[in-house]
Structure formats: structure tokens, C-alpha cells
Amino acid sequence: MSTNLAKRGDWVQVQLNVLSPEERSPYLPEDTKKVPLQMRVKGFLVDEIASLGATVRIKTTTDRIISGILIDINPKYTHNFGEPVPELINAGVELRKLMEEIDRCDGPEGDGK
């Protein structure tokens, strides 16, 4: 994100409280009871111009108008493939070796049974 300013029509993300802790369902574990139910949603900025942290209105792809705090402009996906996991890499190597041993005993196509 190169700027903290969004202008009308920009693709942005807002955040809002849906239920405060006291408005929440009575059937919650203690840790969840203490925090509000919050949401994030993306859409196009309706206001002329706004900076991060401001309360803005957006229009979602289903044309809903939602009011919330502007938290990101042109939000990118941040989930990824993770780091190499040695425990799994080793497992893969071992399994291939096991198959090579089976190939040596049975021939590459097995005994066909």
C-alpha cells in the first residue's frame, strides 16, 4: 500500500463491531465472552476521500452499503505456502525409499496383484 489515502471507487477493506461483549450470545466460553464479535469486509469506497482509521462507507460486490473503519486500501492476500517443514520433507524421502525397496523385491510394476 503506497498511500494512506483512499479516494472514491478504490477497492478497500473495513472493520466493524457486530456485537459488543454484552450484546453477544449467552452461550459462549469465558474467553470469547470478553471480546466483541467483529467483522471485516471489502468493497468500493463511497466517500470522496478518506484516510486509514477513518469511519467510511463502502459498497460491496452485492451493492450493500456498509459503514466501518478503513483498515486497508487495495488489500492484498497474505496467506502463503508456509515454510519448508523438515518433518514432512524427510517423510517424503523415506516413503520414496520404501517404494524403491518394494520395487527391488517385486519389480517396478509389482506382481500385478
Binding site: V18, L19, E23, R24, S25, Y27, L28, P29, D31, T32, V35, P36, L37, Q38, M39, R40, V41, K42, G43, T60, T61, T62, D63, R64, Y77, T78, H79, N80, F81, G82, E83, P84, V85, E87, L88, N90, A91, G92, E94, L95, R96, L98, M99, I102, D106, G110
Partner: protein, 474 residues
């Protein structure tokens, strides 16, 4: 525009029946027989579609007719590990070949078709699973608007990578994705959205959704007959909300496979509270686990429709649990030995299949009824990296003996360590009755209700009476 409606939690929940009725277009009242008894088969017949109709609907959007393949290398490995005369052959139904990458397209295809036909302008689904992308994809194809509501973050805005990926997929199909923090009020917000938009509730649990899965069981019966000359001895199904097992079993039976054993498998996450903000990111499988599997089996009508069409205890012959570490290991095995890179969650049933193949006879066959797509967020490397960040111990070890949900993930040191934990189906049937007695505040049921319970639990009157008296004595 200001609304005069009271949108507080209590007020919306009080309107739930009316909202759901408008949003699914089904009058569930007409299937009620008396008290807790309702006519399930009548509901499935009148509201659902026949297999042929569903196949036509699904063919229009490229859903179904997925390949079924024998896992020949894994089967050779199993033969090496098995005792003499043991080692059943495993076949895999490659559901990742569906348009959005999972069997959920079958469910979504019929729901969205129905929504379009009934004149709804859009569809809404509450799901943190692959179903979101499936509904979004089908809605795109049929020109409907779509909102997917996910439970996605803990209160520190740490998102579950697998759910974030599913959100991305939904957005790729043009859906609006509402991402919520942890809590069962996901249902409250979904009701509010249904009321505000007038969209169709593409529930995972409607008769349409379940009819959509029947083609999966039907295809398995036909493909296995073609490949091996007979029906499979067992079909292993990853079990979460109960739809996959219900639909697969119904389709299989409709195609004549009445003797095939239906085995459910879930990842063991017992001890982790599903609505806990803290426990939320200590789970590295987001749906096919005990947190859904057990509660939905013992009380199917906890879902977002008045009468759930997914009723797993009618069909489940056996239920087994697997550990997270062995599912990641088997995912690696599927990629390395069979050249199939698929999402780990769908391999829950494959993991169980490997363990069960070792105890079954060598002339028997097992079908694993699904795979799912994989990628960023979903891969074992993504989930295990996240698990380590959340303080989990990831180690090599015996997956059954050393696994501790929320603390330790043990990746097997050898394929012979792949095993299952038996969870007696009769225990779930008894829990079903225990919860029913608690909800109803009575332990006497009339003849119609007893008949319904026999069907819903696939049990005899004597068994039910025995369990009820055991509950009374507790």
C-alpha cells in the same frame, strides 16, 4: 434508509423460523408428523430431486463425473505392511476435479439452481469450508449475487490460513466475503443478511444440498462395478456436518450398493472448544473434525434449517478418528507416491482407509470418496508453519499415541504407525437420545416418535429403550 426492525441478537434469533422459511422456500411444517417425528423420506422426495434430475443440473455447470482411480503404489505399500491375506485395495474418487475443487460443488449446484428457478436475486451461505467457493462458483455461472459468511479470525485478527484461502477463492468468483471473528453468532449475522437482502439461504443442510451429493455415491457404485465387477466393501467418508456421509450413502443405495459399509472418519480435536477464541487457531483442520462430527451427528437440527436433511446416524456403520499428524503424512504420501497433490483436509478419509485396509482382507475394496484442491494456506507446509507459530510442538512420532490436540502434532516415522481411534457409533446414538431428553425435558416418546427414532438412529426399538433407560439412570 433506516430500519424499524430490532436487529439485536435476541430479536433476530426470535425471528429465525420466519427468516429461514422465506430464505429456503420450504414449508418444513408439512413434514412434521407429531412432536419430534417428521417424515424425512417425504421431505427428500418432495423437495429434493431425483438422481437423474440432479445429474442433468450438475452437468450444466461441469460438476460431477469425476475420475475414480486405484491408488496402486499406496496399495503395494499396504500389501507390504499387511499380515498374510490382509491389505484391501484403496480407490480414490478425485473430487478435486470439480469446478471449484471439491465435492461441495455437487451441493452448491442444486442449491443455486433452485435459487435461480425460484427467482431469488442472490444466495448466501454461512461456511468456513470449501462450500463457500462452490456456492460462489455456481452463483457466478448462474448469474446470481453471492455472499459468503466465514468464521475466520481470532480476536487478535490472526486468520486461519485455510479459511483465508477459501475467502480468496470466493472473491475470485465475485462473491462478497464477510469475515467474522470466532463465535456461533455467525448464524445471527447470516440471518440478518438473509432478511436484509432477501437472498436464498444456500444451506449445506437443505434437501437440495443433500440430493446434490447423492450423485457421488451413485457414481462410485457404477465406477467400482465397472472397474472391479462389484460394489465396494467399504466407503470411507470424511465426516463433519453429516451431509457427505448422508448423500453418499443414499446415492450408493439407490444404485444398488446396499451391502457396502459406510465408515465415517474425522480428525480428532476432542477437548478443543469450538466457540473458544483461544482454541480457534489451535486447530489445523477447519471442518472435518470431531468439533463438527460429533455434535452434528447427535443433534443434526442444530443447523441453519429447521429440519436438517443431513442425518448421519441413519447411514453410518462405523466411526473412526485420525490424528492431524497422520493426515499431513498421508497428504505427503499421496503427492510423493501417487503424484496427486491434494488438500490435506480431504485426506482425512484416506488416512483412515490406509489403517482399515491393513485389517481388511486382500480381496476387499475400499473407496475414499473425496479429494479437494490445495494451494496457499491449505498445504501441510502452510498449516504446520502456522501451527508452529501458534506454539504447537511438531515432531516425528507415533501419531495416535503422541498426538495431543492443541499441543502436539506427531508426524508418523513409518507408514505402519498410521492408525485410527474407534469411536463407537452406539455412543453417539445414546448421546443423541440424552440431548433429546434434555431439550424436550421428557423421556417418554409416543409410537410415532419411537418409529421416527428407530429410523433416525438406524436402531431397533429395544436398543432405543435400553439407551433411554441408561440415560435415566445417569
Amino acid at each position: 434508509m433506516t430500519s424499524m426492525r430490532d436487529d439485536s441478537y435476541d430479536a433476530v434469533m426470535a425471528r429465525r423460523n420466519e427468516i429461514m422459511k422465506n430464505a429456503v422456500g420450504i414449508d418444513y411444517e408439512k413434514f412434521i408428523i407429531e412432536g419430534i417425528a417428521f417424515d424425512y423420506e417425504k421431505m427428500m422426495k418432495e423437495v429434493g430431486y431425483s438422481i437423474d434430475e440432479v445429474r442433468e443440473i450438475q452437468a450444466e455447470t461441469c460438476v460431477g463425473n469425476t475420475p475414480l482411480v486405484e491408488l496402486k503404489n499406496i496399495n503395494r505399500l499396504i500389501k507390504k505392511l499387511a499380515a498374510k491375506g490382509k491389505g484391501a485395495r484403496i480407490f480414490l474418487k478425485d473430487e478435486a476435479a470439480n469446478p471449484s475443487g471439491s465435492f461441495k460443488d455437487r451441493r452448491a449446484a442444486v442449491s443455486v439452481y433452485r435459487a435461480k428457478k425460484m427467482g431469488y436475486k442472490g444466495v448466501i451461505a454461512a461456511t468456513s469450508g470449501n462450500y463457500g467457493a462452490a456456492v460462489a462458483s455456481q452463483a457466478a455461472k448462474r448469474g446470481l449475487k453471492c455472499i459468503i459468511v466465514q468464521e475466520c479470525y481470532d480476536s487478535h485478527w490472526r486468520g486461519q490460513p485455510e479459511i483465508l484461502e477459501k475467502g480468496r477463492a470466493c472473491e475470485a468468483y465475485g462473491a462478497e466475503v464477510v469475515q467474522l471473528t470466532v463465535g456461533p453468532e455467525l448464524f445471527y449475522y447470516t440471518l440478518l443478511l438473509l432478511e436484509q437482502t432477501g437472498y436464498f439461504n444456500a444451506s449445506l443442510y437443505s434437501p437440495y444440498a443433500i440430493a446434490g451429493i447423492e450423485t457421488l455415491g451413485y457414481e462410485i457404485a457404477h465406477q467400482m462395478t465397472e472397474l472391479t465387477g462389484r460394489y465396494p466393501d467399504a466407503v470411507i467418508v470424511t465426516h463433519a456436518g453429516g451431509g457427505l456421509i448422508t448423500g453418499t450413502a443414499r446415492g450408493l443405495k439407490k444404485a444398488g450398493g446396499t451391502e457396502t459399509k459406510i465408515i465415517g472418519a474425522s480428525v480428532d480435536l476432542r477437548g478443543l472448544h469450538m466457540a473458544s477464541d483461544e482454541a480457534f487457531n489451535k486447530k489445523y483442520f477447519t471442518t472435518g473434525h470431531t468439533g463438527f462430527g460429533i455434535p452434528f451427528a447427535v443433534f443434526p437440527d442444530r443447523s441453519d434449517v429447521p429440519k436438517n436433511a443431513a442425518r448421519p446416524l441413519r447411514y453410518m456403520d462405523r466411526y473412526v478418528l485420525v490424528a492431524q499428524g497422520e493426515v499431513f503424512y498421508v497428504t505427503e504420501m499421496l503427492a510423493q507416491l501417487e503424484g496427486l497433490q491434494r488438500g490435506p483436509a480431504g485426506n482425512t478419509s484416506l488416512t483412515a482407509a490406509i489403517a482399515l485396509a491393513l485389517e481388511m482382507d486382500e480381496d476387499q475394496t475400499i473407496v475414499v470418496n473425496e479429494t479437494e484442491y490445495t494451494g496457499a494456506g491449505k498445504l501441510p507446509s502452510a498449516q504446520l508453519t502456522f501451527a508452529k507459530q501458534m506454539g504447537m510442538v511438531v515432531k516425528r512420532g507415533d501419531p495416535i499415541k503422541e498426538d495431543i490436540p492443541g499441543k502436539v502434532i506427531a508426524i508418523p516415522q513409518h507408514p505402519s504407525q498410521i492408525g485410527v481411534i474407534e469411536f463407537p457409533v452406539s455412543d453417539m446414538k445414546k448421546s443423541y437420545l440424552k440431548e433429546l431428553i434434555k431439550r424436550e425435558n421428557r423421556d417418554e416418546f409416543n409410537d410415532n416418535e419411537m418409529e421416527f427414532l428407530q429410523e433416525d438412529l438406524n436402531a431397533t426399538k429395544e436398543e432405543i429403550e435400553k439407551w433411554i433407560s441408561e440415560v435415566r439412570g445417569e
